[in-house]
């Protein structure tokens, strides 16, 4: 099933249609952070903790697709072997397939499937992320950001982006030098952030021997309870649904529109001007948008008919 989704198979969308009403029970955790900080290892240990409380757990682990060959090596599973034969643990590796943001669209749909299948907790592991890989917080109810000692000085900490999206910060490999400094820095920005909702917390872990993981699991669960109690979970789910829908809409519209544009003579004319450097790309883009798209938008808003050859052609279609 997930396989079909990954391949954009039309069959998958029929199945998705029937599963969608059952979606929305699971608690979804996102784990992100730079490559090599220990995301997979932490998840491996987290699964064990959640299993102790008898939650069923599904993991979607995303690894990068090669931009050159389109192939991928999916190695996250390698670190999650403790549960290789547990029936209530489902681990699925996915390749990012060129999607920026660390999460493939297929991963979003896979979450719907796994949720509808009745898994209590779904963990999404992003590709090793950079500073702006926060898309996972558009799916997850609770986002954990993993860092390691020595990576976070004062200015990194106040930069916008990934750090703003974290609910729980994890300083892994905390037996290494500098853990306390990193802890301190992270705690400081969290304290600065206004905390009318959930106050993010910082935890130290040493994933390979399991130190701190029990606490981490407990914090995720208490975040879950906290959100449920304060009606935040419903709000977040609503927001995610809207985001997902609008982003699909955007993709689809853009795809159709670009296709349409590429077939128009205006587009080709302007493109030629850009190529010959008669007009700069910014103005060119504006011109194309003005000529091709604005008639619709304009009409929608004002109900005013503008005579326009291209517009007419489009309407006939």
């Amino acid at each position: 099933m997930i396989r079909l989704i990954e391949e954009n198979d039309p069959k998958a969308f029929h199945l998705l249609q029937s599963l969608y009403p059952h979606f929305g029970k699971a608690f979804i955790i996102g784990i992100t952070g730079s490559p090599g900080v220990g995301k997979s290892t932490i998840i491996n240990k987290l699964i064990r903790e959640f299993r102790k409380s008898d939650f069923s757990v599904a993991v979607i682990a995303v690894d990068p697709t090669s931009p050159y060959s389109g192939g991928a090596i999916l190695g996250d599973r390698l670190r999650m072997q403790d549960h290789a034969t547990d029936e209530k643990v489902f681990i699925r590796s996915m390749a990012s397939r060129g999607r920026a943001g660390g999460v493939s669209r297929a991963a979003k749909d896979a979450v719907i499937v796994l949720d509808a299948m009745g898994y209590d907790i779904i963990i999404i592991e992003t590709v090793g992320a950079g500073q702006s890989e926060f898309e996972v917080s558009n799916i997850a109810h609770s986002t954990g950001i993993v860092s390691i000692p020595g990576t976070c000085d004062g200015i990194q900490a106040v930069k916008a982006g990934i750090l703003e999206t974290g609910d729980i910060f994890i300083v892994n490999k905390s037996d290494k030098d500098g853990a306390d400094v990193t802890m301190h820095q992270l705690t400081m920005i969290i304290d600065l952030a206004n905390g009318n909702n959930w106050k993010p917390c910082v935890l130290k872990t040493i994933a390979h021997d399991g130190t701190g993981i029990e606490e981490l699991a407990a914090v995720f669960l208490s975040h879950w309870k906290f959100m449920e109690k304060n009606n935040l979970l419903e709000a977040k789910k609503r927001e995610h649904k809207i985001n997902y829908f609008t982003s699909l809409l955007k993709d689809l519209t853009l795809e159709k529109l670009l296709l349409f544009m590429e077939n128009s003579s205006e587009y080709r004319e302007v493109l030629n001007k850009v190529l010959s450097q008669e007009i700069d790309p910014i103005h060119a883009a504006e011109q194309v948008v003005k000529e091709i798209i604005s008639p619709f938008v304009y009409e929608e808003q004002t109900h005013e008919k503008k005579p326009n050859g291209l517009h007419e052609l489009r309407v006939k279609k």
Partner: protein, 136 residues
């Protein structure tokens, strides 16, 4: 799992069953397959056959590639093929590489192993061998 290739990605599970000590070969083969545009799930050393079956099911792979250098390829493959049938995975192709004496290859194929790539096989031959499995 009813896909054949049609521009879709081939998903391969690379696993080393049993007690082999190192996985350099398996890793290098994984890289070569990646470069050929496949998605490789790398599960590493010391896999039990149960783990391999479980992983192949969850990951919905097209090919299971075993790297075996312990000399136990005949009993391992025999057992795995029975387990694959039981788990409903008979449509997955099983391929084997590693230290495999040439005289064992016919026996492996008779069991149902789709392809054998003994030591000395070039990457090209492996990649083509795997892609050929989907041309029928």
């Amino acid at each position: 799992m009813e896909n054949k290739i049609r521009g879709k990605k081939i998903r391969v599970l690379i696993a080393k069953p049993g007690l082999d000590g190192h996985d350099k070969g398996a890793k290098i083969v994984a890289l070569a397959l990646r470069d050929a545009g496949m998605e490789v799930i790398y599960s590493g050393l010391h896999q039990t056959l149960e783990q391999i079956i479980h992983t192949a099911t969850q990951e919905a792979v097209d090919i299971i590639g075993l790297s075996i250098m312990s000399g136990a390829h005949l009993p391992i493959c025999e057992k795995l093929i029975v387990m694959m049938e039981k788990a409903g995975l008979s449509d997955i192709n099983l391929v084997v590489g590693g230290v495999i004496p040439f005289q064992d290859i016919p026996g492996l194929k008779e069991m149902g192993v789709s392809a054998v790539f003994p030591g000395g096989t070039s990457f090209e031959e492996i990649v083509h061998g795997m892609k050929d499995l989907f041309k029928k």
